[in-house]
């Protein structure tokens, strides 16, 4: 139930900088995710919050308390590891009760708390089982119960579901969210899996190469990526490099024309661009529609392209459209996706409105 703040956190290992000037402000009871590829520094950041690693520079606060000088066992946190964390020589009860027993709580209180926790995770009756007798999913649930038993003020998750199967992952992440809501604890979750992050977070910190690229809700990040990395890492995107050749104010909004290779694209401008600015234009595959001959002249951009490489993925179909020299990936869903299936090599008309622009140096 603590507010967590990171102020100018940097971590260097010798000559390598793992985390560079990271700032975070996480509200009480909020569920945030640190999302990024391997090596982006998200786990290191999490471990610094836990106290397992000491920052090279910067300060970490829980509420108003500076926690830098405190070792992990004095920070009152709960840390759920990816794997290998349940003590193999203790049964479920002893594992869950460990945090309380090291504080010298009396046995009855511990037993009662363990029962409470087992009910919370739905594993009543498993008291005497050893960790090796539990499935992967059960182990992680026990690990969850173990950290909740001590009533920590912050919950930290280091890719807890990565070692589990897909189906288990899908189910367990909602369990985690559920427990977090019930217990109102601040949760900081690390993962590289975008769908996991999107499913359960209040806010997401997208990280890359030790820096926070963007912070925001799922909608913010998906619909309005602010850096090239975020645009490409989150979902899929067509990336076009180009230059602004014209800008205009019409109908109350600014628009620019961007010349990218042989293509000229009309985009709405939220950045205040001028002619000659270099930009990256991002077009999401699902935002490109296949137009039938008749109507649909309301799209800002309409181009013609040849259909290549159709892939039927089940609920979606994607293909590459060769528009002059550029290859645009298009994704179709719903019933209309089936109409493209026989049209390999055909020329189609495509239309799209949504283009995200990001300045390029």
């Amino acid at each position: 139930m603590s507010r967590v703040r990171l102020v100018n956190i940097t971590k260097r290992f010798g000559n390598t900088t793992a985390v560079s000037d990271v700032n975070m402000d996480i509200a009480e009871g909020e569920f945030v995710t640190l999302l990024g590829p391997s090596g982006c520094g998200k786990t290191t950041t999490l471990r610094m919050i836990a106290g397992l690693v000491e920052p090279t520079e910067g300060k970490i606060y829980f509420d108003e308390q500076l926690v830098n000088p405190l070792p992990p066992n004095r920070r009152n946190i709960g840390f759920v590891f990816q794997t290998h964390s349940l003590f193999p020589h203790m049964n479920v009860t002893d594992n869950i009760g460990f945090g309380l027993s090291v504080k010298g709580e009396d046995k009855q209180k511990i037993a009662a708390r363990v029962q409470e926790m087992l009910a919370l995770i739905g594993l009543q009756g498993y008291e005497k089982r050893m960790p090796s007798e539990l499935s992967g999913g059960q182990q992680q649930r026990v690990a969850l119960a173990r950290v909740l038993a001590t009533n920590p003020r912050v919950l930290l998750f280091d890719e807890p579901l990565s070692a589990l199967d897909r189906n288990l992952r899908d189910q367990l992440k909602y369990n985690i969210l559920d427990l977090q809501r019930k217990t109102h604890k601040t949760a900081i979750y690390v993962t590289h899996d975008q769908s996991e992050a999107f499913a359960i977070s209040d806010r997401i910190f997208v990280m890359n190469l030790g820096r926070v690229e963007q912070v925001g809700t799922q909608l913010d990040i998906y619909l309005h990526p602010q850096t090239e990395f975020v645009a490409e890492f989150i979902g899929s995107n067509n990336t076009l490099a180009g230059e602004v050749i014209q800008s205009s104010d019409g109908a109350g909004e600014r628009q620019v024309s961007v010349q990218a290779g042989n293509l000229t694209i009309q985009c709405r401008d939220y950045l205040g661009l001028k002619t000659g600015d270099h930009v990256l234009a991002f077009i999401r595959p699902e935002n490109i529609r296949v137009l039938d001959n008749a109507s649909s002249n309301h799209y800002l951009n309409q181009v013609e392209g040849t259909v290549e490489k159709i892939v039927f993925e089940g609920s979606t179909v994607h293909f590459d459209a060769r528009v002059q020299d550029t290859l645009l990936r298009v994704e179709l869903a719903g019933t209309e996706r089936l109409t493209i299936l026989n049209r390999e090599g055909a020329r189609v008309r495509l239309g799209f409105d949504e283009v995200t622009l990001i300045r390029r140096n």
Binding site: M24, D25, G51, L52, V53, E54, K59, L66, N68, P69
Partner: protein, 301 residues
């Protein structure tokens, strides 16, 4: 969309960040404190006595403990004059025992690694020599004595004119080689088991005969282990004590370890005996140093 603003709230005085360290747990002092007991024991009970020996080897006779300590290099000279036979004897015994170990140990290791499945039983038997050269030497008596185990067998040999003397070079070397046999086997065995059998198969597929595969594929790949085994056995055998003492004739009793004991503990000639200790130490160290360079078994990344 702008990131939420973060302002550091000024609050309690005196909670400044401590000096940045590598990680919360590995401080210099903690590491040192953890290593100190082992290092302390090593320094006090190993390095100090060894240094002490070197120091005393430079003194004359028993003058170290007396009021008038005389320093001299005579002791080292005497190793190569007066005590040269002793040095030679130790080296000879070690060489012979190591040779026996190599000749008998290599096939043993090869068969053990490649062909035999009851390896654990064999290992159980191989433990016995490791209990100590003392029991080996002692037990030898009972093998060779007229009223020992093999009495009828030995009497039969005697009748045919073959005498097997108890005390002598052969008994000493035999006992010594049994003691260090497991070391040879383990080193060679480790090296052999690291040779991928697929390489042998590949050689055979390419048309090599058994002998060729052996000399040109297996032997070169196992040679580091063989070398390590030779050096390790030699290092151990150079300091042989019980075997020459209990089983040796006059010639074998010249072994340097025995001479050290006699001159040092019995005659109190500290200077000479310390010198012998230093010589044995140097031989053992240099041999072992090279054996470690060639053997596997690195525990550090």
């Amino acid at each position: 969309m702008a990131e939420r603003e973060v302002t550091a709230t000024p609050f309690q005085i005196g909670t400044e960040l401590p000096r940045a360290r590598q990680s919360v747990f590995s401080t210099r002092t903690t590491t040192l404190a953890l290593l100190l007991p082992a290092l302390g024991v090593t320094v006090v009970f190993l390095l100090l006595p060894l240094a002490f020996l070197i120091f005393i080897s430079l003194t004359k006779g028993r003058t170290f403990f007396s009021a008038t300590t005389t320093f001299t290099l005579e002791n080292y000279a005497s190793i190569f004059t007066q005590f040269l036979p002793n040095l030679q004897e130790s080296l000879l015994l070690a060489l012979l025992a190591t040779g026996v170990d190599l000749i008998f140990g290599f096939p043993f290791a090869y068969i053990l690694i490649r062909k035999v499945r009851y390896r654990d039983w064999v290992r159980a038997f191989m433990i016995f020599p490791m209990f100590g050269a003392l029991y080996l030497a002692f037990g030898m008596y009972f093998i060779l004595l007229p009223n020992g185990m093999f009495a009828p067998f030995i009497q039969a040999l005697n009748k045919n004119g073959i005498q097997i003397p108890i005390y002598g070079l052969q008994s000493v070397v035999f006992a010594m080689s049994i003691f260090t046999f497991p070391f040879m086997v383990m080193n060679i065995g480790a090296a052999l088991s690291n040779v991928d059998p697929k390489l042998e198969e590949a050689a055979r597929c390419l048309g090599a005969k058994n002998w060729q595969t052996f000399t040109r594929v297996i032997l070169p790949l196992a040679s580091p282990g063989i070398l390590a085994g030779i050096l390790m056995c030699f290092g151990w055998n150079v300091g042989a004590f019980a075997e020459p003492l209990l089983l040796g004739s006059v010639a074998e009793q010249r072994a340097m370890a025995l001479t050290l004991y006699n001159r040092g503990i019995v005659l109190f000639d500290y200077g000479t005996s310390a010198t012998m200790g230093v010589v044995l130490m140097v031989i053992a160290f240099s041999v072992t140093y090279f054996s470690l360079r060639y053997s596997r078994g690195a525990l550090v990344e």
